[in-house]
Symmetry: none
Protein backbone atom coordinates (compact mmCIF):
# COMPACT_ATOMS: atom_id res chain seq x y z
CA UNK A 1 0.00 0.00 0.00
CA UNK A 2 1.28 3.43 -0.84
CA UNK A 3 1.59 6.31 1.48
CA UNK A 4 -1.81 7.82 2.16
CA UNK A 5 -0.71 11.03 3.74
CA UNK A 6 2.64 12.44 4.58
CA UNK A 7 2.31 15.01 7.27
CA UNK A 8 5.44 16.35 8.84
CA UNK A 9 6.10 19.05 11.33
CA UNK A 10 5.71 19.91 14.92
CA UNK A 11 2.38 20.55 16.60
CA UNK A 12 3.97 23.48 18.44
CA UNK A 13 3.52 25.60 15.33
CA UNK A 14 -0.24 25.21 15.65
CA UNK A 15 0.07 26.04 19.34
CA UNK A 16 1.86 29.28 18.56
CA UNK A 17 -0.65 30.11 15.87
CA UNK A 18 -3.45 29.77 18.37
CA UNK A 19 -1.49 31.77 20.94
CA UNK A 20 -1.39 34.81 18.66
CA UNK A 21 -5.11 34.75 17.92
CA UNK A 22 -6.37 36.33 21.13
CA UNK A 23 -3.49 38.75 21.83
CA UNK A 24 -3.59 39.83 18.18
CA UNK A 25 -7.21 40.91 18.44
CA UNK A 26 -6.68 42.27 21.96
CA UNK A 27 -3.72 44.44 20.97
CA UNK A 28 -5.77 45.79 18.09
CA UNK A 29 -8.57 46.84 20.44
CA UNK A 30 -6.14 48.21 23.02
CA UNK A 31 -4.04 50.35 20.67
CA UNK A 32 -7.13 51.32 18.69
CA UNK A 33 -8.74 52.74 21.82
CA UNK A 34 -5.53 54.61 22.65
CA UNK A 35 -5.50 56.20 19.19
CA UNK A 36 -9.18 57.04 19.55
CA UNK A 37 -8.44 58.79 22.84
CA UNK A 38 -5.49 60.68 21.35
CA UNK A 39 -7.70 61.92 18.53
CA UNK A 40 -10.37 63.02 21.00
CA UNK A 41 -8.03 64.85 23.37
CA UNK A 42 -4.62 65.46 21.78
CA UNK A 43 -3.33 67.20 24.93
CA UNK A 44 -3.24 63.90 26.87
CA UNK A 45 -1.52 61.99 24.07
CA UNK A 46 1.65 61.50 26.12
CA UNK A 47 -0.21 60.04 29.11
CA UNK A 48 -2.17 57.76 26.81
CA UNK A 49 0.96 56.54 25.02
CA UNK A 50 2.68 55.75 28.32
CA UNK A 51 -0.27 53.75 29.60
CA UNK A 52 -0.69 52.11 26.20
CA UNK A 53 2.86 50.73 26.42
CA UNK A 54 2.13 49.31 29.90
CA UNK A 55 -0.93 47.55 28.53
CA UNK A 56 0.83 46.34 25.39
CA UNK A 57 3.51 44.69 27.53
CA UNK A 58 0.90 42.63 29.39
CA UNK A 59 -0.78 41.38 26.21
CA UNK A 60 2.31 40.94 24.04
CA UNK A 61 3.97 38.66 26.57
CA UNK A 62 1.10 36.17 26.24
CA UNK A 63 1.75 35.73 22.52
CA UNK A 64 5.53 35.52 22.90
CA UNK A 65 5.15 32.86 25.61
CA UNK A 66 3.39 30.80 22.93
CA UNK A 67 6.71 30.62 21.10
CA UNK A 68 8.60 29.73 24.27
CA UNK A 69 6.02 27.03 25.06
CA UNK A 70 7.24 25.11 22.02
CA UNK A 71 10.66 24.85 23.64
CA UNK A 72 9.30 24.09 27.11
CA UNK A 73 7.00 21.22 26.16
CA UNK A 74 9.05 18.84 24.03
Amino acid sequence: MDILAELNGNIATIGYGLATLGPGIGLGILIGKALEGMARQPEVANTLRTNMFIGVAFVEVLALLGLIAGFLFI
Copy 2:
Protein backbone atom coordinates in the same frame (compact mmCIF):
# COMPACT_ATOMS: atom_id res chain seq x y z
CA MET B 1 3.83 0.20 5.29
CA ASP B 2 5.59 3.51 5.51
CA ILE B 3 5.14 6.19 8.05
CA LEU B 4 1.75 7.80 7.60
CA ALA B 5 2.33 10.90 9.61
CA GLU B 6 5.33 12.22 11.42
CA LEU B 7 3.97 14.73 13.85
CA ASN B 8 6.07 15.74 16.80
CA GLY B 9 5.49 17.98 19.72
CA ASN B 10 3.49 18.25 22.86
CA ILE B 11 -0.23 18.84 22.90
CA ALA B 12 0.33 21.27 25.81
CA THR B 13 1.44 23.90 23.29
CA ILE B 14 -2.05 23.83 21.78
CA GLY B 15 -3.50 24.01 25.29
CA TYR B 16 -1.48 27.15 26.02
CA GLY B 17 -2.44 28.64 22.68
CA LEU B 18 -6.11 28.19 23.50
CA ALA B 19 -5.56 29.53 27.03
CA THR B 20 -4.31 32.88 25.67
CA LEU B 21 -7.24 33.33 23.30
CA GLY B 22 -9.81 34.55 25.82
CA PRO B 23 -7.48 36.52 28.11
CA GLY B 24 -5.79 38.11 25.09
CA ILE B 25 -9.07 39.55 23.83
CA GLY B 26 -10.23 40.30 27.39
CA LEU B 27 -7.10 42.23 28.32
CA GLY B 28 -7.45 44.25 25.13
CA ILE B 29 -11.01 45.25 26.02
CA LEU B 30 -10.10 45.91 29.67
CA ILE B 31 -7.05 48.10 29.03
CA GLY B 32 -8.76 49.73 26.04
CA LYS B 33 -11.64 50.84 28.25
CA ALA B 34 -9.15 52.17 30.82
CA LEU B 35 -7.37 54.22 28.13
CA GLU B 36 -10.74 55.46 26.87
CA GLY B 37 -11.59 56.61 30.40
CA MET B 38 -8.20 58.33 30.79
CA ALA B 39 -8.82 60.26 27.58
CA ARG B 40 -12.30 61.23 28.74
CA GLN B 41 -11.30 62.35 32.25
CA PRO B 42 -7.52 62.75 32.57
CA GLU B 43 -7.86 63.82 36.22
CA VAL B 44 -8.86 60.29 37.32
CA ALA B 45 -6.08 58.61 35.33
CA ASN B 46 -4.33 57.40 38.49
CA THR B 47 -7.48 55.78 39.92
CA LEU B 48 -8.17 54.15 36.59
CA ARG B 49 -4.63 52.82 36.28
CA THR B 50 -4.76 51.33 39.79
CA ASN B 51 -8.04 49.56 39.11
CA MET B 52 -6.81 48.52 35.68
CA PHE B 53 -3.87 46.69 37.29
CA ILE B 54 -6.25 44.88 39.66
CA GLY B 55 -8.31 43.75 36.70
CA VAL B 56 -5.26 42.83 34.63
CA ALA B 57 -4.05 40.57 37.43
CA PHE B 58 -7.30 38.60 37.44
CA VAL B 59 -7.26 38.05 33.68
CA GLU B 60 -3.51 37.57 33.18
CA VAL B 61 -3.41 34.77 35.74
CA LEU B 62 -5.83 32.72 33.61
CA ALA B 63 -3.45 32.78 30.65
CA LEU B 64 -0.34 32.07 32.73
CA LEU B 65 -2.09 29.12 34.39
CA GLY B 66 -2.38 27.71 30.86
CA LEU B 67 1.40 27.48 30.79
CA ILE B 68 1.49 25.93 34.26
CA ALA B 69 -1.20 23.43 33.24
CA GLY B 70 1.27 21.96 30.76
CA PHE B 71 3.56 21.09 33.65
CA LEU B 72 0.73 19.92 35.93
CA PHE B 73 -0.90 17.51 33.47
CA ILE B 74 1.94 15.47 32.06
Copy 3:
Protein backbone atom coordinates in the same frame (compact mmCIF):
# COMPACT_ATOMS: atom_id res chain seq x y z
CA MET C 1 4.77 -0.93 11.52
CA ASP C 2 6.56 2.29 12.19
CA ILE C 3 5.61 5.06 14.51
CA LEU C 4 2.49 6.83 13.26
CA ALA C 5 2.66 9.91 15.41
CA GLU C 6 4.76 10.96 18.33
CA LEU C 7 2.53 13.32 20.22
CA ASN C 8 2.99 13.84 23.93
CA GLY C 9 0.95 15.66 26.49
CA ASN C 10 -2.34 15.52 28.27
CA ILE C 11 -5.65 16.50 26.67
CA ALA C 12 -6.54 18.24 29.95
CA THR C 13 -4.36 21.16 28.88
CA ILE C 14 -6.67 21.71 25.90
CA GLY C 15 -9.63 21.47 28.24
CA TYR C 16 -8.22 24.19 30.45
CA GLY C 17 -7.38 26.32 27.43
CA LEU C 18 -10.98 26.15 26.26
CA ALA C 19 -12.21 26.81 29.80
CA THR C 20 -10.43 30.18 29.90
CA LEU C 21 -11.82 31.31 26.54
CA GLY C 22 -15.19 32.54 27.76
CA PRO C 23 -14.12 33.83 31.19
CA GLY C 24 -11.15 35.66 29.65
CA ILE C 25 -13.38 37.63 27.30
CA GLY C 26 -16.11 37.98 29.93
CA LEU C 27 -13.77 39.35 32.61
CA GLY C 28 -12.43 41.85 30.10
CA ILE C 29 -15.92 43.15 29.34
CA LEU C 30 -16.91 43.11 33.04
CA ILE C 31 -13.87 45.00 34.36
CA GLY C 32 -13.79 47.26 31.30
CA LYS C 33 -17.35 48.40 31.99
CA ALA C 34 -16.47 48.98 35.67
CA LEU C 35 -13.52 51.18 34.60
CA GLU C 36 -15.79 53.00 32.15
CA GLY C 37 -18.22 53.70 35.00
CA MET C 38 -15.40 54.92 37.27
CA ALA C 39 -14.27 57.37 34.58
CA ARG C 40 -17.81 58.63 34.10
CA GLN C 41 -18.60 59.11 37.79
CA PRO C 42 -15.41 59.03 39.88
CA GLU C 43 -17.32 59.61 43.13
CA VAL C 44 -18.84 56.10 43.01
CA ALA C 45 -15.53 54.39 42.25
CA ASN C 46 -15.52 52.48 45.55
CA THR C 47 -19.03 51.11 45.05
CA LEU C 48 -18.13 50.07 41.53
CA ARG C 49 -14.96 48.34 42.66
CA THR C 50 -16.80 46.37 45.35
CA ASN C 51 -19.45 45.17 42.94
CA MET C 52 -16.80 44.46 40.32
CA PHE C 53 -15.09 42.05 42.72
CA ILE C 54 -18.40 40.22 43.31
CA GLY C 55 -18.81 39.80 39.56
CA VAL C 56 -15.17 38.81 39.03
CA ALA C 57 -15.52 36.03 41.61
CA PHE C 58 -18.42 34.47 39.73
CA VAL C 59 -16.62 34.49 36.38
CA GLU C 60 -13.14 33.62 37.63
CA VAL C 61 -14.36 30.46 39.34
CA LEU C 62 -15.48 29.06 35.98
CA ALA C 63 -11.97 29.25 34.57
CA LEU C 64 -10.31 27.89 37.69
CA LEU C 65 -12.74 24.94 37.72
CA GLY C 66 -11.31 24.14 34.29
CA LEU C 67 -7.98 23.50 35.98
CA ILE C 68 -9.58 21.40 38.72
CA ALA C 69 -11.45 19.40 36.07
CA GLY C 70 -8.09 18.09 34.86
CA PHE C 71 -7.53 16.52 38.25
CA LEU C 72 -11.12 15.28 38.61
CA PHE C 73 -11.31 13.47 35.26
CA ILE C 74 -8.18 11.38 35.09
